[in-house]
Every structure is written in C-alpha cells, then in structure tokens.
C-alpha cells in the first residue's frame, strides 16, 4: 500500500513564526502536492513538485514556499505564519503519467495560527 505520512496531525503556532510541514511518501512517486482544505472552499493547490528540486506554483502560493531535496520528502514552509493560514493542510503524491493516475493523500495537518 502507498503510504503518505505527515509530520504532525495538529499544530499550533503564533503569528509571525516560521512553520515547517513535512510530508514523506514511500512509493517512489515523482509527483508531490500540497493542498489546503477549508470548509466551503474544498481543496486548493498551493504548490506541487514533479521531481527533486523542481516545483511549480499552484492556485494559492502566496505566503508559502516549498522544498524538495529528496524524492520522498516534500516540505511546505510558511515564512511568517498569519491567522488566515489556519487550515487543514493535505499532502499527496502520484506517479507521473497521462494525468489519469490517482493521487494518494496523507492524513492531514490541522494548523492553527494564533
């Protein structure tokens, strides 16, 4: 089974802190994704990576950055956390292909910024 793990299930940070969210997958997937999930807004793509050291902006990249130094690990960084970044963050991975391959999701990190 594909396994995607995220470093924390729940996280509480203060405004202005630098926050790191870690994601690790064990299936040698090339593609990795970071989404945020908010009620009424569904999932919105923040960043994705299709190879080590490669990244592309998603739909809402402002206030976030990412790092992918190893194939299995994809980190989301909040440079200076703000209250409007309180959300559920989901990581996903998939193999590349013609676009019809499903993504595998981690359990999510619920981040609260106070």
């Amino acid at each position: 089974d594909v396994k995607v793990t995220q470093s924390s299930r729940y996280l509480v940070k203060r405004t202005g802190e630098k926050v790191f969210l870690e994601c690790v997958q064990d299936m040698d997937h090339e593609n990795m994704f970071w989404y945020r999930q908010d009620p009424g807004l569904g999932l919105r793509l923040i960043y994705f990576s299709y190879d080590v050291k490669m990244k592309e902006k998603g739909d809402i990249p402002e206030g976030y950055s990412v790092s992918r130094e190893k194939k299995e690990r994809f980190s989301l960084i909040l440079e200076s956390a703000s209250t409007n970044q309180t959300s559920m963050y989901l990581c996903a991975s998939s193999t590349p292909g013609l676009g019809f391959l499903e993504q595998y999701f981690g359990p999510g990190t619920r981040l609260t910024v106070t």
Binding site: L41, G42, S94, G99, F100
Partner: protein, 116 residues
C-alpha cells in the same frame, strides 16, 4: 481552465435508500474525472475515476459514477446507502489537454449523511 461544481453542500439519505452526489465539470478538452472520500479526521481516499470508454464506472465500497458528456456531469451513486458511507465527498477533474504535472481541480465537497 478547468473547474468542477458540487451544487449540494449536504445530502441526507436514509440507510438502504439509493444515494446520489452531484458533480458537474468544465474543461476545454476532454476530462479525466475522479471521486474521493474523506472520513472524519482522515485524509482523502480515492473512490473511482473515469478515463475513457464505458460511461458507468464502478469503484470501491459499492459506489459507481456515470459520466454524461452532454450534461458535463459525473454524479456519484450507490444503490443502497449505509450509515458508514457518511463522509465528505469530493469530485475532481483534470483536462486531458492541459500540461503535465497531474494537476487536479477539486470541488468544494458534499457532506453525505446517512441515517437509520
């Protein structure tokens, strides 16, 4: 651009009754379509997908979905609902003619509540 709409925030159904969760999409070309389910305090799990061919797609846990190109819809169905089906359901789309990266666009989600 690609987009997907789930017009119902919540669907209530009695156990044993058929259920339908609606999804419509918009793409410039032809779509790949997906349904995911999220149980409480869990990540999303893949349910089923439409790639090509038969318009009726069968997936996990007895769910199926019907692709209707003329109505640009991909409604999720199950003949007999279970209380354990209660969860948040997401429809997602990818335009086949879009670039690489396997980027999906998700709907806003529909909360399904199955009651005894």
């Amino acid at each position: 651009a690609q987009s997907v709409a789930q017009p119902e925030d919540q669907v209530n159904v009695a156990e044993g009754n058929p259920l339908t969760v609606k999804c419509t999409y918009s793409v410039s070309g032809n779509p790949y379509l997906f349904w995911y389910v999220q149980y409480p305090n869990r990540g999303l799990q893949f349910l089923l997908k439409y790639i090509t061919g038969d318009n009726l797609v069968k997936g996990s846990y007895g769910f199926e979905a019907e692709f209707n190109k003329s109505q640009t819809s991909f409604h999720l169905k199950k003949p007999s609902a279970l209380v354990s089906d209660s969860a948040l359901y997401f429809c997602a789309v990818r335009d086949r003619s879009s670039g690489g990266g396997n980027k999906l666009t998700f709907g806003t989600g529909t909360q399904l509540k199955v009651e005894l």
